[in-house]
Symmetry: C2
Amino acid sequence: MSARRATIADVAREAGVSPSTASVVFSGKTQVTDATRQRVLAAASALGYTGPDPRAASLRRGRSGIIGVVLGGRLRSAFLDPVTTVVLDGISEGIAPLDAAILLLRDDATETGPSLMTAPIDGAVLLGCSAHMRSSLDDVRGRGIPVVVIEGDAGEGVPQIGLDNEAAQRHIAEYTKGLGHERVVHVTMAFDASTRAGWAPSVDLDAITVDVTRDRLRGALEVYPDAPIYHATGSLIDEGYAAGQAILALDPRPTAAIAQTDLLAVGIVRAALDAGVRVPEDFSVTGFDGIRADGIAPHRLTTMAQPAADKGRAAGEVLAALIQGTPTSGVDFASRFREGNTTGPAPRA
Amino acid sequence: MSARRATIADVAREAGVSPSTASVVFSGKTQVTDATRQRVLAAASALGYTGPDPRAASLRRGRSGIIGVVLGGRLRSAFLDPVTTVVLDGISEGIAPLDAAILLLRDDATETGPSLMTAPIDGAVLLGCSAHMRSSLDDVRGRGIPVVVIEGDAGEGVPQIGLDNEAAQRHIAEYTKGLGHERVVHVTMAFDASTRAGWAPSVDLDAITVDVTRDRLRGALEVYPDAPIYHATGSLIDEGYAAGQAILALDPRPTAAIAQTDLLAVGIVRAALDAGVRVPEDFSVTGFDGIRADGIAPHRLTTMAQPAADKGRAAGEVLAALIQGTPTSGVDFASRFREGNTTGPAPRA
DNA sequence: TTGTAGGCGTTATCAG
DNA sequence: CTGATAACGCCTACAA
C-alpha cells in the first residue's frame, strides 16, 4: 500500500484542513465544528490513520503516561513472590488518578535493556532495590523525574514508604526466645546482588546492601547475636528447603529457625517434615510477611504480617502527588504479629 | 540554575563538537576518539546532562523498547491470579533477546489511561482478553505493531498461542462421568465484561465473548449438556466459595462440580468442607490449570495442568521474531490430566 | 472556529 | 573519525 505510514499532516491535507485542526479533532482540546470533524475522521479512515503516534505525542507533551516500577533481582522471581505482586497491585491502585500504565523494570547493573535511565517514564517506584543503583537514581532525579522508594534508603528528598522491619523482626525473635529457644539459626534473603546461598562466615551488617535484609537481620541479631546465619539468594520456597536441610544437618541440631520471609519459612518447614522432624514439637519456624502460606497445611506459620497492599497503594499515591506537584512525604507502616502453630516451646535438651 | 534542561546540543556546544558527534558518544554507534569522548563526557557532567531523552530517542529511532501486555479484566485480579503471573514470567523470558521492558495494560473499554492505541509500544501480547477489543486490535495491526494472542481468536494473521481448552475440559468431564456422576454443575469464569456472578438461565455459547470461558464450557457441555451453569466473574477463591454455597443449596444436591479454574475449585472445596460435606465421598470437584492449590490440604485437586510458563515464553519468542522480521506462526499447547483426591465415585443415591 | 509557525531532542545519512 | 543537514510526528501559542 503506502511505503510510509500516514501522519496527521496527511490527514489534514486530505481533509482540506490545517494540521492543527486535525490534531484538535483527535485530542479534543478545543471545540470543532461537527462538519469538519466528520471530514477529518473520514480522511483519517480513508488513509488508514488510527490516531497520533504516541512517541511523537509524548515528546511534544513531555509526558509518556508511564510509571516505572523497578524490581530488585530478576523479574521472574518478582512475579513468583506473592508480596511483590500484592505491592504491585497496590501501586496500580494508587496511581489510578494519573491514568498511567506500569512499566516493569529491573535494577540489573548489567543493564542492556531499558532501565530507569533509558525508559520514557514520568515517575518511578523503587521496590526492594539494592544500593548499587544509587547513582542511576541520582541521575533520574537530576532529570526531574519523581521517585518513591519502598523499603530502602534513597537519600535526601526521596519519599520513602517504610516498614518496621527491624522492630518487627526483633519482636518475633523475642517471641521465640520467650519460648525458651537457645540454639537458633537466622535465615535471610540476599545480602547483595552477587550473593550465593550458604552460611555467612561473618556478620558485617553494613556490608549488606539490600536494606530489607539488613534491617530484619539487625532486629533478629539483637535477640540472638551469636546465632549462625544462612543466607538465601531470594525469597523462594525451594531456597528455604535447601536452608532447612543445611540447618537440620547441624550438630547439635538447632531448635528454631528465624526466617526473613514466609516462603523461606515454608521451605524450612517442609524440609523438616520431610526429614521426619516434627514441627513445632522438635523444631520451631517463624516467617515474615503474612502471605497465605501454601503447602504446609495443617500448619499455619507464626509470622509478622505486613500491610503489603497498603504499602503499594501509598507509594502510588505519593508518586501521583509528586507528579502533580503536590507536596508530600513518605509513609511508614507497621507489621502485626500473627501466631500460628509452627512455633512451640523449645524441646527439653 | 538552568530554567531548561540541558540537551545534547548544549553538551555539543560546550564540548566544541557537533551534535551528531555528541550523540554518537552516548549511543556508541560509531568509533570516537578517546580525546573527544572525554571532552563530551566532561561537558555533559558539567551541564548535568545524564543522557539522551528517551522520548526524543524513541521518536527518532521509531522504537521504544517497550512491549505491551494486555490483561483482561482488572489489573488487580490479574496479579492475584497465579496463572497470569506465571505466564507473565514466561513472556519476560521469551522477549529477553529484545531487551525490552514490559508495560502492563488493561483492556478496559472505559479507556482513559494508556491503552494499546496510546502507548508507545513496539509490540503486544494479548492475554485472555475479551472480544470487545477486537477493533482496537485491528487499529494496532494497521499501525504495523506486531501482536501475539494467548488463548483468543484475534483474526487473520495474528499468531496465536493456543491451549486445548475444549478437549481438556471434555476430558476431565468424561473422567467425572466415568466415576458415575450424573447430577453435575458447571462453574465458569466470566462470560463477558459485564457478567455478574450467578446462575446462567440459558446457554448461548456464541454470546460468550471470553474465549477461554467459552471453549472450556463447550468441552464440558459435550459431556454434561444439561447440567446447570454457575458463572463467576473471575478466577478467585472467594468466587468459588460463593459458587460452592449456591451449588450445595440445590435440591437435590449435585454430586460433582466441574470448575473452570483451580482457584474456583478450591473455593468450592472449602465451601463444601465448611458445610460439613465430605470431599470426595459426598461431593467431587475438578479444577483446571494445575497451579499449586493453596489451602485445601490434605486434599489435592483433580485437574488439568496447563503449561503456563511455556505458553508465556512461546508468546514472547513469537513476538520477538515478529518484531525482528522473522516469519513465524503460533504454537499450540496441551494440558495434562492430573488426578488428585477431590474426586471419587458418585455416592449411591 | 481555524490556520501559521516553530520547536520538542534526538539520530540517520552522507559528505568531508 | 567528525560535521552539516534533515527529518521523526506532533502540539500549542498566537494570530486571523
